[in-house]
Subunit: 249 residues, 8 copies
Amino acid sequence: MNEENIRRLLERLSLGDISVDDAVTTLRYLPYEDIGFACIDHHRNLRRGHSEVIFGEGKEADDIIAIMNRMAGKQENIMITRISPDKAEKVLKVFPDCIYHKRAGLMILEPCPARISGRGTILVICAGTSDIPVAEEAAITARFMGNEIETVYDVGVSGLHRLMAHRDKMIKASIIIVVAGMEGALPSVVGGLVDKPVIAVPTSVGYGASFKGISALLAMLNSCASGVTVVNIDNGFGAGCAASLMNRK
Amino acid sequence: MNEENIRRLLERLSLGDISVDDAVTTLRYLPYEDIGFACIDHHRNLRRGHSEVIFGEGKEADDIIAIMNRMAGKQENIMITRISPDKAEKVLKVFPDCIYHKRAGLMILEPCPARISGRGTILVICAGTSDIPVAEEAAITARFMGNEIETVYDVGVSGLHRLMAHRDKMIKASIIIVVAGMEGALPSVVGGLVDKPVIAVPTSVGYGASFKGISALLAMLNSCASGVTVVNIDNGFGAGCAASLMNRK
Amino acid sequence: MNEENIRRLLERLSLGDISVDDAVTTLRYLPYEDIGFACIDHHRNLRRGHSEVIFGEGKEADDIIAIMNRMAGKQENIMITRISPDKAEKVLKVFPDCIYHKRAGLMILEPCPARISGRGTILVICAGTSDIPVAEEAAITARFMGNEIETVYDVGVSGLHRLMAHRDKMIKASIIIVVAGMEGALPSVVGGLVDKPVIAVPTSVGYGASFKGISALLAMLNSCASGVTVVNIDNGFGAGCAASLMNRK
Amino acid sequence: MNEENIRRLLERLSLGDISVDDAVTTLRYLPYEDIGFACIDHHRNLRRGHSEVIFGEGKEADDIIAIMNRMAGKQENIMITRISPDKAEKVLKVFPDCIYHKRAGLMILEPCPARISGRGTILVICAGTSDIPVAEEAAITARFMGNEIETVYDVGVSGLHRLMAHRDKMIKASIIIVVAGMEGALPSVVGGLVDKPVIAVPTSVGYGASFKGISALLAMLNSCASGVTVVNIDNGFGAGCAASLMNRK
Amino acid sequence: MNEENIRRLLERLSLGDISVDDAVTTLRYLPYEDIGFACIDHHRNLRRGHSEVIFGEGKEADDIIAIMNRMAGKQENIMITRISPDKAEKVLKVFPDCIYHKRAGLMILEPCPARISGRGTILVICAGTSDIPVAEEAAITARFMGNEIETVYDVGVSGLHRLMAHRDKMIKASIIIVVAGMEGALPSVVGGLVDKPVIAVPTSVGYGASFKGISALLAMLNSCASGVTVVNIDNGFGAGCAASLMNRK
Amino acid sequence: MNEENIRRLLERLSLGDISVDDAVTTLRYLPYEDIGFACIDHHRNLRRGHSEVIFGEGKEADDIIAIMNRMAGKQENIMITRISPDKAEKVLKVFPDCIYHKRAGLMILEPCPARISGRGTILVICAGTSDIPVAEEAAITARFMGNEIETVYDVGVSGLHRLMAHRDKMIKASIIIVVAGMEGALPSVVGGLVDKPVIAVPTSVGYGASFKGISALLAMLNSCASGVTVVNIDNGFGAGCAASLMNRK
Amino acid sequence: MNEENIRRLLERLSLGDISVDDAVTTLRYLPYEDIGFACIDHHRNLRRGHSEVIFGEGKEADDIIAIMNRMAGKQENIMITRISPDKAEKVLKVFPDCIYHKRAGLMILEPCPARISGRGTILVICAGTSDIPVAEEAAITARFMGNEIETVYDVGVSGLHRLMAHRDKMIKASIIIVVAGMEGALPSVVGGLVDKPVIAVPTSVGYGASFKGISALLAMLNSCASGVTVVNIDNGFGAGCAASLMNRK
Amino acid sequence: MNEENIRRLLERLSLGDISVDDAVTTLRYLPYEDIGFACIDHHRNLRRGHSEVIFGEGKEADDIIAIMNRMAGKQENIMITRISPDKAEKVLKVFPDCIYHKRAGLMILEPCPARISGRGTILVICAGTSDIPVAEEAAITARFMGNEIETVYDVGVSGLHRLMAHRDKMIKASIIIVVAGMEGALPSVVGGLVDKPVIAVPTSVGYGASFKGISALLAMLNSCASGVTVVNIDNGFGAGCAASLMNRK
């Protein structure tokens, strides 16, 4: 390890194996590696259960397969985000053990599935059926990162009774991800009902003045319910990551 | 009136008092007056109870007083919108019978108050205490135009129980005006609870990404509850007028 | 019924059949069902004439058919919005009694057509021929919900005489829906001519600085004619629903 | 003048007073002066009637007085735009012959008023009383530049009969400037009634979603009446200049 | 004619053929027809040279052919705007005398071409080769409406010498249409060089922060050269119409 | 309390003190109170340490004092947000035990300060000195809600070494709030260095194209570091609340 | 050349071959040619190494080939920007010596490659792999214009250690081009680490609230690191040109 | 210095004065200090001539004086940006040797003025007189950082001859800063005339659709002249810094 390297260098110096000048030269480049060290450590945490994330968008199926081949020997869990059905098909031919979550556009290879390590359950709620793909992206991401998840779909604010029927799940959850398009009101309502961290995910669902999610995004940023934080439009993956971090013991 | 004038003209023609040429010349200009007639008729409807509206914004106190003087003899009811306290004070010195609604920025002179003529009650709901001025503008406008009004204030979506406590009023109302700033979610919630026309009024209340009401406006336009229509930001007067028209028998 | 349930519970308690603790536990979950009750009641109102609305956008033909199958036995009227010709064709194969309104993108199955129950006629006006699909969506929705409708198309403000020729229809209507793209001026002109509730529907018709309907939307929100309310861009369905609610006796 | 200078230079060369090298060096710098020549010529045209325009905004009263002093000896007509009452007062003390148009924020010194030289009358129409300052800026600018003007104020689209009453003036005019805020619909209506060049001037009048004139600007750019061109928000001066150029014989 | 009808009605009244009541009833509906009259007159002016314009965008080839068939007998000139090559081909099969201007997306049928009736030449300038389609739309429209046109293409501000080489044409023209995308600076430069009405046409040419023409549009609205007016993005047709109106004798 | 009330009601019913009808009538209104119950419970959680929050913005000093008087007897902790110095002064005259945090615009009355109950430390980092008021609002809010806080100010991305010097605090914290204006890059950098929940708070600090915080807001929403969530512009209070919820054991 | 022409004219004048009048007439048109001269000179500088740039976007393969044919005889280097693979293929058939850089969408024909003439190395850094096409466009453009280039890709701010590993290259470079999408934070970080001119290139990479590069653009314009300047979204070519100009000796 | 410290540590280790463990512990914190080192070095370069910059905006006069006191002993040159006249007055009382540039809002204390060290002259051009404050900020900043500067003011594109008259200065300069508001066309014109790096500075000068500089900003980003880069609206200081970096030998 890095600290190991420094220690070895210093031992060699204290033993007279290398000169002070040599040591200075070597150390000059250390800092950045050390920052790297911090990051690697961080990455290791992210990879709990030996997981790795590949952003599929903008990558060819061949690129993805190449990256997976490099990791495959290491028995690592791999998740590929935003991968289209046709690319998924190509990857599946090479890695038939992969599972493809079509609605979420996620593909997962889990030789040793992440053990559940979070503090509690992450609840994913969405307003309409069109919001489900984003909600699924969030839910599967959170589960992949070692969290217990629960989902409640199609409970928009125009029919509050549907939401209320799931009161228990909201009270039981440790973190709630709320996914909504159109007027984006659901996170405010949920945030007013429970005292849990609420991660609001605006979706590009809607038409006209929904402006591909801007309307929902603004509504969520202006939520009158304190305790609501927001991620980018359609960013289910980001919400899943953030929830996973919040759910650490 | 106008039709009278035409009739008199034609009678004079049929009596030979004027020539066909003279009549043609006079009639040439009639059409537009006739449209005017349609509009005057319309205005008369608007003025049920002999009411008149003066837009106070951008007018000096002296201008307002001058306009009021011209009407004063006619025993008409007069409402002045968006009039600031200092202008109101000047007007009150000349017309001490006026009543100034400070929060709503409205001034009213009602020698013969409008009799209640609407189909039912217009309910005005607002989300936060800062939305009250706009809500009051709507409520007083609607009452001035001859409607029974009821108000429920400070019942934002982050505490649904406050709204639910007024369930009966919502069910009883014929039209509901819902005033909200910030994330503008209240009209969607109200629209989902009752099957009444809901007029949503976004307010410029909020900060940061509320963008002086744009956020609330967009949310309302994208409401998932069908039956919700929207007016301009802070336009309580417009909501009151629209509700009054909808409430006609 | 719900109230029935409560009464029965209380009777059992007063009879000593159940303990106070049991009753408390049961009552704990009641509220939300009760809200549900309110909503169901509301839904029943919406479904006057046993009608049901399916949002077609984003649903596969198979999904739509599945939903329709579940309802079909109940002799309910069904309307499917925003359904494309190819999906419509698939649905028609299964439900040959459906009528597909191509321009409006609406499909309707009406075993027992809604009886006309509104207060008066809903008039749908549009500015240009390109606005007709949205106007049709509004008109057919309103009719489906039990209203008499009348339509006046292609009467934009650049040729006022075309609009004026339909003066009688405007005066006769109880609610007017005005559909326009580009500069969106028509609702202001109509709102100035008659004292009826005007529902303005901006369309995405236009190019360049029309910004897919934003220009028309803003113009309508800023209408100098009071009594005009606005729905989302291209939202003919919403306008039809709102008009139907306003037209209730 | 410039051409004079060139001629004199060439004469001196042809007389042998200067060498070819000297002439080349001098001519090297001519081009840009010559462009200047073109521009000066252009300016002379602009200054028909010996007029000069000073943009008052952002200039101190002393700056304005200094510029005026430099011109004063030349018997030129001077117009100062966007000059506030307090600055105007200071200027009036030094140039008591100036006339200050308070509503338009314009000040004019006309030792020899421009003679009317345009092809016809420029008609300035505005929608509401709040639009009058911009309309006046346009009208006075056009008159200052030697055009006959006529004005029709407060004839917004919500009361078409008021506009129609001035049909004759519209038909008689050679150019029409239409000033409107809020929904900016008036130019479309005027453009539909007459076949004259219409210059649309959006104003920042309105509130909420008028966005300080953006709403009116967009409506005007999207006018369904062909023949309408647009200037910047509140730019009465620009409209007056453009109309004056269009009105040239 | 309309005035004829009124006269005849009045004569019948003065002769006692009809009663005053009958005359009042008839006159009640006249106004709007009379406005229509004004408009028809206006249309006749627009159609100088018996021309008619069909907006091709959003119309099927069959619709266009149907409209043309109705006019064809009348020996009218017809222009179809924004017609795509495939639709044009279909129309050409039915009306082989049509001429299709592919770059401009315009089709013209001219049994009796408009005689040149404008005051002077309309000059169309564009900044880059990508702006030519819009420039052509403007130029052909203006010629179709009876104006002499001249064109100067590909003279953007980053190479002023190219523009300067056409100085004479600018000085000779009566109206100048300037078409530009990207930073939209050309109208300001042209407006500074000549004292002619300049109609600026922003195009959607550019990428990134050109925002499909918004950047050019804003630049043109803010032109420091007075006398510049602006039309909608890519609106060559509108510029051609406006220039034609300005060019009337 | 509420559940108490229900129990007592039921006991009275089971004892025959009241009839079933009476009980039904009473229970009819319960549901909403029961939701209120949920909310009150939630509020109680929020108020850990008996705290209460008053939004000071838009309230007069007298309003604030009135609200405080009502609570004062209950020995509750009170925090007033967005209270200006002059209002604060007035409140301090009545409640001299209040502490006014001028930079944060917060006033606090803590008869029994909240005991530290969170899982770990909440670290508040800000980019520039101008961001400190918002950072302080976040920090003081979080502390008021019973969390240990640490602050690191003025460590913007243009001098990464300043941030790096506080590596230990970042690693030690359980939640990190990152406050930044201008380009809003700091949360991305922090989010890349540690695997903690990062709450990004954009501020309105900056000029020109910072657009009062929009620039920073967008940057934060688009953060390439997963695990970052965002609150409204300048919303230090919201960030403090959210962090407090995330920090619950 | 131009100056030659003038000299010859003057010599003819001084010899009496032509009259002063003739000379004046000729000189009248010179200026613009002379500006042209200045520009040609400028162009020659741009073309150091006999290079020419053709903007491929919006040009057909045949157009490009035609332009290349005209130049081909002159042994000039030619670069074609934004040329798609299918067009490139067609060009390659005619000019098989061309090299096509697919990722950058650039094609180059270099009979005599530009000799390196800049002051130092231009370093091109990009944040993510999706930004590489724009980065390549910048790098290849700069090299084509005679500069030494170095590239460092995929070093986004969420993993600073990757950037730090290239510290030496940053210190060694004379100009740094930094390409980034999403939150656009990289130029601020780079600008804070070195005292070199930094040209920031926002890319349209990202989704949701990245708004096709606006988010990155705003972040870069608001960079807290002084010394950063910005070009248009995805404008790698512009960045390469600007860097080349800055790198002149 | 830092490297010194490391060396000394290592020497002590190699001498056995400290243990390897101690050295490791110490080195652990070094990296970040070392990055700091890089930055300090960078800062030293920025401070050529011992200069320091204080951002005056948002700082009280007392804060500024305090900072200046800390530096004053070190004979450093100090520049304070965006300092208002009243604050400047207070600072001048304590530091009477300061020079206050009122138009630019800059204050400078130069015990030992920076010696001119740049490669060439930095030319600052501005379009209108209202742009001068921003231009002065750029010019004085560049001079303060050791560059020769030249200024050309009030040469907007609507009168190109004024710009052309300064051709020589443009050709002579090594870097050109072009400052413009309104339509922001000047940088494109200048960039087309010379082959120098052009830094474009949009200003908030203008009204209506200039949107406080957005219009000019967009125009500059879309400049058709390659080689133009852009800084934030009104950011004269940033332009001066960037120009200074580009002007390094």
